[in-house]
């Protein structure tokens, strides 16, 4: 009896392995020579916004620059990154290390580096400009670098950090954006198919309330803290004199630093890495609008730019004719029948 069961199980196992082998083979077959993206996007964009200014908000600028560095490292070109930054700390008179921004007391890595392209700087960081960037309703003389030229195959990472409250986020102590404005802006993007999928990430106090009103499809949102909770900074640098990074961003970076372009890490792995005990607040994930299962979504689908490719096999033979001027005759000059088929004429 037991022998029978064992034999049955063995057969089952063997069958299972064979089947899984076959399906694996089919999977790779499908990938072959063609498109590699499972997500269906062809380009990546990032909109990174730091809504604070002034020296004591050093950490918000460091947060944003850290994410900026990460997405660039993972392959999103500067032309596809809209960076909105008050940008007043690197050259602040209080900065003991001029022209640098660090996100760690160890000061291992200068985020400001020599290749930072800030698209909206200082007083340009306003609610209006942010909404104009998202919806594409910019003045006709706006340069290309300040436009979000995304299409229906674009995955967009929207990262925001600053001081927020219940369903609002302050912009430079002057104005605020509400969760309704944000939701409407996303809806306008969706109406015109300006995105394929969006990852919205926000690190402020009561951050999770900011994405509560979003109603457009294919948006995945994550925030640092629940309603009524503060988001805390991670640690301060005593030489710089202020906190250098927020906890939520810090632990995101801790995960992202281990990701490279070829990485197969998924967003589920990223979200599972959040530990409320370390972050000191309850990070939230909103995936009800998002259509793909999170364990199938690569981190590089949003934080990187992994392009699809298609091998070019056959090529178009341009004809030998030297005729350059465009006339109808030039078309006909090539009516040379080059097949054995011609003989019947």
């Amino acid at each position: 009896m037991t022998f029978n069961i064992i034999r049955f199980l063995t057969i089952l196992i063997i069958l299972y392995t064979i089947i899984s082998q076959i399906s694996l083979a089919q999977d790779t077959e499908a990938i072959v020579d063609g498109f590699f993206s499972r997500g269906g996007h062809t380009n990546n964009w990032a909109v990174l916004v730091c809504t604070s200014r002034f020296w004591f908000n050093y950490r918000h600028i460091a947060n944003t620059l850290s994410i900026y560095r990460t997405v660039k490292r993972l392959g999103i070109p500067d032309s596809n990154i809209i960076l909105m930054l008050a940008d007043d700390v690197a050259c602040n008179p209080r900065n003991a290390f001029p022209a640098t921004v660090f996100n760690n007391a160890g000061r291992y890595l200068d985020l400001y580096g020599d290749n930072v392209e800030v698209d909206y700087r200082g007083y340009e960081v306003t609610v209006e400009n942010f909404i104009r960037v998202l919806t594409g309703r910019v003045a006709p003389d706006t340069p290309r670098s300040k436009r979000l030229l995304s299409d229906d195959r674009s995955n967009i990472l929207v990262y925001m950090t600053g001081h927020g409250g219940n369903e609002f986020l302050k912009f430079q102590d002057a104005e605020e954006i509400s969760s309704f404005d944000l939701a409407d802006a996303f809806e306008q993007m969706w109406e015109k198919r300006r995105y394929h999928e969006v990852l919205f990430m926000i690190d402020t106090c009561q951050a999770n309330t900011m994405y509560s009103q979003i109603y457009s499809p294919n948006i995945l949102a994550t925030g640092s803290s629940e309603l009524g909770e503060n988001s805390y900074s991670h640690h301060m640098d005593t030489d710089i004199g202020v906190a250098v990074i927020d906890r939520f961003t810090y632990y995101n970076l801790e995960f992202l630093e281990k990701v490279d372009m070829q990485s197969k890490a998924t967003l589920k792995d990223l979200f599972n890495s959040y530990n409320p005990n370390f972050i000191h607040s309850t990070p939230g994930v909103r995936s009800d609008l998002f259509s793909r299962p999170l364990d199938k979504v690569l981190v590089t689908d949003f934080f990187g730019s992994v392009q699809n490719i298609e091998l070019t096999g056959q090529q178009y033979n341009i004809s030998n004719s030297d005729i350059v001027n465009e006339t109808i005759i030039s078309d006909e000059s090539n009516f040379k029948v080059n097949y054995d088929f011609a003989y019947f004429f």
């Binding site: 020579d33 299409d151 229906d152 070019t312 178009y316 040379k336």
Partner: protein, 550 residues
């Protein structure tokens, strides 16, 4: 005295109320959001497919050789062909729920057959020049001849202009009918399927579809950038005769396609263009290779400066990559491990890449015009794919049955045949019309949903003009005037987009009623308290007076 005082007091109170009475409408008027009236009903009709019929008519003129020995009657050929093609066009995957589309979307076919008496002289060896050339999109000429050799298969030769020659092996009416309708269906079915699909699921972007992912969205202009990327200039300097090559090989294509979209071409050379990763090394044969898994990381986005700020139109990048010495020669392997002959790959909606390993012995290399020919032909293949030009032959070959030999005249130096160009025109017309309608629909939806959004007069004008152009485009399609239809569809999409993306269309910030109360309360409550109290007192004293008089 008492009386007088009372009167003056009442006048004062009344004057306050009069000011408020006149002020209220003024306040109402001045705080109103200006909204020009948009033709919502008309837009709704368009988006429900009630306002228009989309027709893509085609006319086939068939020259049938008059063979002396034959006694076949060709009188019914035209009508028979029309019927059989129409019935085959309509057998497809339409579902019942899509009837409304089926009713408004038609591909009418007309066939005219003519006797062809001098067919023996009409065609000369290797030359179709003597044949009539039709210069209208949507009109095609087919020449039907009896076969002169013993080959059992029917042969079809498709020209670059709008004509084809069919050599029939069995001179029989049934065979002729079947061959002609097979050919027409095979040449036009893929395009129709694409148009129908696009119309029924205009925005299905969740699916992974090769065609829709590869082809750029319509834009009136694209910027084409050719970049020569040199891995390491310290041991090899490179240059190329790109301007001559573009003039010689690409210019005709650019001219031809400019009816649909303009292409501006520029070029650049960049040095020290390193890869972000190390290619695999095959030690025994001493070459380096890239697998398809590595290719998505090929473009070094952080260091290669490919972004152009010249315009906001979409950019198509074409890269000729020369690897550094320590990575040469560099080849691309396909998934089966074979080295690709073309050494090239395409990045959907982005551009194309070719890797070349020039001779390094002299320390410098100039890609001559002759060398660039094969390179440009690959770039043109990729450019055609990116712009949505579909190879007529690959599509038709799949659709025809095996007993028919189909051949194509060598492609013209415009790099696009009239068949392909017509097909692209029709696809782009359909795309533009549908995109304009969905854009207008989105616009009307947004304006309805967001009551705080200002709608200025010029938006209204643009919407009306867009609708007007849509109507004209559909009317021109109906009359077989594809060029005009294309022109109006381009206008329509341009106007619809400019209305949608107008900078004034940013809605005011979210401003709910609670916020309004919060703003007006501190102003109006303190003002209204003395006013109301005064009114109350007056009424009270008025009543008391009345009582006293009684």
């Amino acid at each position: 005295m008492e009386e007088n005082n009372d009167k003056i007091r009442r006048l004062i109170i009344a004057s306050f109320y009069i000011v408020i009475l006149f002020g209220l409408p003024l306040w109402w008027k001045t705080t109103e959001v200006y909204r020009a009236q948009l033709p919502f009903a008309e837009i709704e009709e368009w988006s429900n497919w009630e306002a228009f019929d989309l027709e893509f008519p085609t006319l086939f003129i068939i020259y049938v050789a008059s063979v002396e020995s034959s006694t076949i009657n060709f009188a019914n050929l035209s009508s028979n062909l029309e019927n059989s093609i129409a019935s085959r066009y309509n057998v497809d995957n339409f579902k019942a729920s899509n009837e409304k589309y089926q009713k408004s979307m038609q591909f009418p076919v007309k066939v005219r057959s003519l006797d062809w008496n001098n067919w023996r002289n009409g065609l000369q060896y290797g030359n179709l020049e003597k044949l009539n050339v039709v210069s209208e999109n949507g009109q095609y000429i087919l020449y039907i001849l009896p076969s002169t050799n013993s080959n059992p298969n029917t042969k079809v030769l498709v020209g670059n202009q709008r004509q084809a020659v069919i050599e029939i092996n069995q001179w029989d009416i049934k065979v002729i009918e079947k061959t002609v309708s097979d050919l027409i269906v095979s040449l036009f079915m893929p395009e129709q399927a694409a148009i129908k699909k696009f119309i029924m699921e205009p925005l299905s972007n969740s699916k992974v579809e090769l065609d829709s992912m590869r082809t750029m969205k319509y834009s009136p202009q694209y910027q084409v950038t050719f970049s020569l990327m040199n891995g390491d200039p310290s041991d090899l300097l490179v240059n190329w005769d790109i301007e001559e090559a573009v003039n010689k090989y690409l210019q005709l294509f650019v001219n031809k396609i400019s009816v649909i979209s303009n292409l501006t071409v520029d070029s650049q050379i960049q040095h020290y263009a390193r890869l972000t990763f190390e290619p695999f090394h095959k030690a025994d044969e001493n070459y380096f290779y890239l697998t398809p898994e590595l290719l998505p990381h090929f473009i070094n986005a952080a260091e290669w400066n490919l972004a152009s700020a010249v315009s906001s139109y979409p950019t198509l990048n074409f890269i000729l990559y020369v690897p550094s010495k320590d990575q040469s020669p560099l080849y691309i392997q396909d998934s089966k491990g074979n080295i690709m002959e073309s050494n090239a790959f395409l990045i959907p909606r982005w551009g194309g890449v070719i890797i070349k390993n020039p001779d390094r012995s002299t320390g410098a290399h100039n890609f001559s015009l002759e060398e660039l020919k094969s390179i440009m032909s690959i770039f043109i293949t990729q450019l055609r794919g990116l712009l949505g030009v579909h190879d007529v032959w690959t599509e038709a070959k799949h659709a025809l049955d095996v007993t028919t030999n189909i051949e194509f005249v060598t492609p013209p130096n415009t790099a696009v045949t009239m068949w392909e160009f017509d097909s692209l025109t029709r696809r782009r017309i359909a795309e533009n019309i549908i995109t304009s309608i969905t854009t207008l629909k989105s616009l009307s939806q947004l304006v309805t949903e967001i009551p705080n959004m200002v709608v200025l007069d010029h938006i209204q004008t643009e919407v009306f003009l867009a609708l007007d152009n849509l109507a004209k485009s559909c009317a021109n399609l109906h009359n077989n005037q594809y060029n005009l239809a294309l022109y109006h569809s381009k206008k329509a999409i341009e106007l619809a987009e400019s209305a949608f993306f107008d900078p004034t269309m940013v809605s005011m910030l979210y401003f709910p009623d609670e916020h309004k109360y919060a703003i007006y309360m501190p102003l109006f409550v303190p003002i209204s308290v003395p006013l109301l109290v005064a009114l109350h007192r007056e009424i009270k004293s008025f009543k008391e007076n009345k009582k006293a008089i009684k």
